[in-house]
Symmetry: C2
């Protein structure tokens, strides 16, 4: 099915018409990178790539899209004819989906005419920003839980139906083991899970009957919600009564806490269950959990088996947006060569790194990550590649005096060609593989980078050549003013 | 087109099977209300109703949905046959879309079999929570701007494609005058707007050429982005050079500030433009704005004409979810009468108000809002209606001693029947009408309720009869423990 290219900022279309009218068909290279780690964290997880590539491949304008644009009264008929047949025909390089990523490094690189690069901009940012935000949140939640069992529960508080669906995908990539969203289960093959609502309990004359009825229909480890009336004075008693009958049949069950002090209640409930010999009974908790609360509970040794995380996981909570941007890095001159460009801005941190770039992850002899390096990746001049066996000086990207030397033992380019002439070069990776990649990818970073609060800042440096290019462009720019 | 009912929490389907298997066909009444004002504010704006009703009307299971559920191995074939033909056949009452709303009061009331009430729960909460969050944010932004011109710019940072599309709709309802999202423009008839990107400026040898080229194509008040190189030393100079030529042709233009200190730059830019006689030139600002920043700038008298608000507006920023919940209020007994129910919970604020309810907005003789009242709305016993001409005592909903007396001059029931037997009773309201309703609705609340920080808490009270019912149920419940 065609993906309507109207899912775009209006200025992409007005600028595209501008390029088209002046017959500007030169190619450009845009890079997507992000500016700051969300959640005050030390890492992010790249997600949304497969969703994005599939949509870019299918992007185009429906006849009714063209009719709508025509009605706006500012588009030339010939340009609208061009849009009617529009298809993205450029190249896309990107990191693997599931890669652990850091600010300033290009995650995705797009090469095509300025028009086509611009038309896919909003789609690219919308898709990758949101899924990366949620995959990052999920990885933090998963780490905070001690790499435990996380159920994603967010549908009812998510930002719209796709805010739920894409979030379920990204949360699974980041480490959640299941979702409550049945459509996400069907669409992405994610395991679906759920317990029961208060309304189930309230539809019966009493709690015990409600739990028993549920266990009769779903005998495979039913999870009873025990806070409808009073967790300790009624809920756990009634759950245990049903649970003892299940245990007598060799079956297990669980309980879910959804209000009150989770730490205190989980300890009391565990004691009560253990005292009755129900040591296999599991405790699931929920109620506006995030990674800080989970880590506090984990550190305190609260006896919790499964974490149901909803709102905070699917919206990002306090940080509801990923800071990804898409910036022009180079443009073709009249002779067809790519010339590096950069944006200066009145905010120093909004100044970009010029030129077509590649990214390299340096690891030490034990395979632990040391730094990521940005180099120039000019196909016409591959001299800036980071080659194992060599010793290099790598520079701080803000172009000051700071640098370090490193004997490169292993390095491979992280940006790989995924799409050429608008066609996908790779087949879809199963979601479970991407999740594995995230978990393995996090292993090579020492724990200081994964600390929840004030983490160690991982180094993202530039080669001498990229640094010199940047300094030259800044010098020329200052000379102009 | 059918709306897949799989966009649901899994437990809705497992519980539905439970009700179905035990032949539980009694009706239930659920009410949607919210718990806490977002953004630390004093009011919210109800949005999403028309989207929701349209989807509920169309909700059902596709054959492939049924096949997916069958594959999970826990659903009875007869129940799946029932789902295949599922259609919502109940009744829905709700407030008007665009109503100013407060915590604890029912916004939407659903009556139907427990099964159908449960199957639409996630869809209802997902739709109304998100759109109400964003409409509320937009109303705050609009008020902070001094009821000024707000452009919604959020697509690239929104939570997925629908996180953008629904947000554009809700932002318009809450007071934004346009969107950058072309698909939202086409889908909802919202005016689309945009300026230009840095890449436009960078695709030309110089800023002046870039601005002139844009003005040549779009002569109707073009807006030039002036911070690509240096706002004051180059951007404004080049914009003014082009602007003087436009002025000579009797045309106007604007400039956009997207970085640096907006307050300082807007004053400098205004001075520069005025000194050149370009007093008609407008100043648009953007760069991670929210209502606090906007209010600070407005209070400081910064000469800003238009506000471009993106990320914070379409995601809610620090508050990324609306706290709407959907709770069982009454259930039919074997004789067909509705019996009030309530949830107690270990958190007092999670205790619900029992019974089928109606909401009344009391106004004083000048038409200013005094309080909202919850009453019992039993069709079999309409004796709890709030009737003009009478004097009543209204009680604090936490069932303590606080109350006030009021001579009711005008009151009409806010919950109106919108859907019966699954069919819509009303035709679609134009979005601009809903926006007008919000603006008029806000007028009747004095400014203390609309303060951004620590606002006055608007009264939501209950009738004596509802208070007595609640106290009785609590007494019975405590007696049981």
């Amino acid at each position: 099915m065609k993906q309507s290219a109207l899912l775009s900022d209006f200025y992409a279309l007005t600028m595209a018409q501008g390029y088209w009218l002046r017959d500007y068909r030169q190619e450009a290279v845009f890079e997507m990178f992000f500016r700051r780690q969300p959640f005050g964290g030390g890492f992010s997880v790249f997600a949304g790539l497969e969703t994005l590539l599939e949509k870019i491949r299918a992007t185009g304008f429906y006849p009714e899209d063209i009719a709508y644009l025509d009605n706006l009264g500012i588009f030339d008929k010939r340009f609208l004819d061009y849009l009617s047949a529009f298809k993205f025909t450029g190249k896309i390089w990107s990191m693997d989906e599931g890669t652990v990523i850091f600010p300033q490094e290009p995650i995705i690189r797009v090469q095509g005419t300025l028009i086509e690069c611009q038309i896919i901009e909003s789609l690219l940012l919308n898709t990758v920003n949101f899924q990366s935000l949620i995959a990052t949140k999920a990885a933090r939640v998963w780490l905070a839980s001690g790499k435990g069992r996380v159920m994603e529960f967010g549908l009812r508080r998510a930002q719209g139906p796709d805010g739920a669906l894409s979030a379920s995908r990204a949360a699974f990539i980041g480490g959640a083991e299941s979702t409550s969203n049945v459509l996400a289960g069907k669409t992405f093959g994610i395991p679906v899970m759920g317990t029961m609502a208060h309304s189930w309990v309230m539809s019966y004359p009493g709690e015990e009957e409600a739990f028993q009825a549920y266990a009769d229909i779903y005998p495979n480890h039913p999870v009873f919600l025990i806070d409808t009336y009073d967790t300790l004075r009624s809920g756990i008693q009634n759950a245990a009564a049903v649970g003892r009958r299940l245990a007598a049949q060799g079956r297990t069950f669980g309980v879910r806490l959804d209000s009150g002090d989770i730490h205190y209640l989980s300890m009391e409930v565990r004691k009560f269950l253990d005292a009755q010999g129900l040591t296999d009974a599991t405790i699931t908790v929920s109620n506006d959990l995030d990674e800080s609360i989970i880590q506090t509970l984990t550190n305190a040794g609260a006896p919790i088996n499964t974490w149901g995380v909803g709102t905070q996981l699917v919206t990002g909570g306090s940080d509801a947006a990923f800071t990804g941007v898409y910036k022009l890095a180079a443009k073709q001159d009249a002779g067809g060569s790519f010339q590096p460009v950069m944006k200066f801005s009145d905010h120093p941190e909004k100044t970009t790194n010029p030129g077509i770039k590649q990214v390299w992850r340096l690891v030490d002899a034990n395979g632990n990550a040391v730094a990521d390096i940005l180099s120039l990746d000019d196909p016409a001049d591959p001299g800036d590649a980071v080659v194992p066996g060599n010793r290099y000086a790598f520079w701080h990207p803000s172009a000051d005096y700071r640098h370090f030397y490193h004997d490169v033992t292993a390095a491979e380019p992280m940006l790989k060609l995924r799409m050429d002439r608008g066609e996908l070069l790779c087949s879809e990776t199963p979601l479970a593989e991407i999740q594995k990649k995230v978990k393995a990818g996090l292993e090579i970073f020492d724990s200081s980078y994964k600390r929840m609060l004030n983490p160690h800042i991982y180094k993202v440096s530039v080669t001498a050549r990229l640094r010199d290019l940047k300094l030259d462009l800044i010098k020329n720019h200052l000379g102009d003013l």
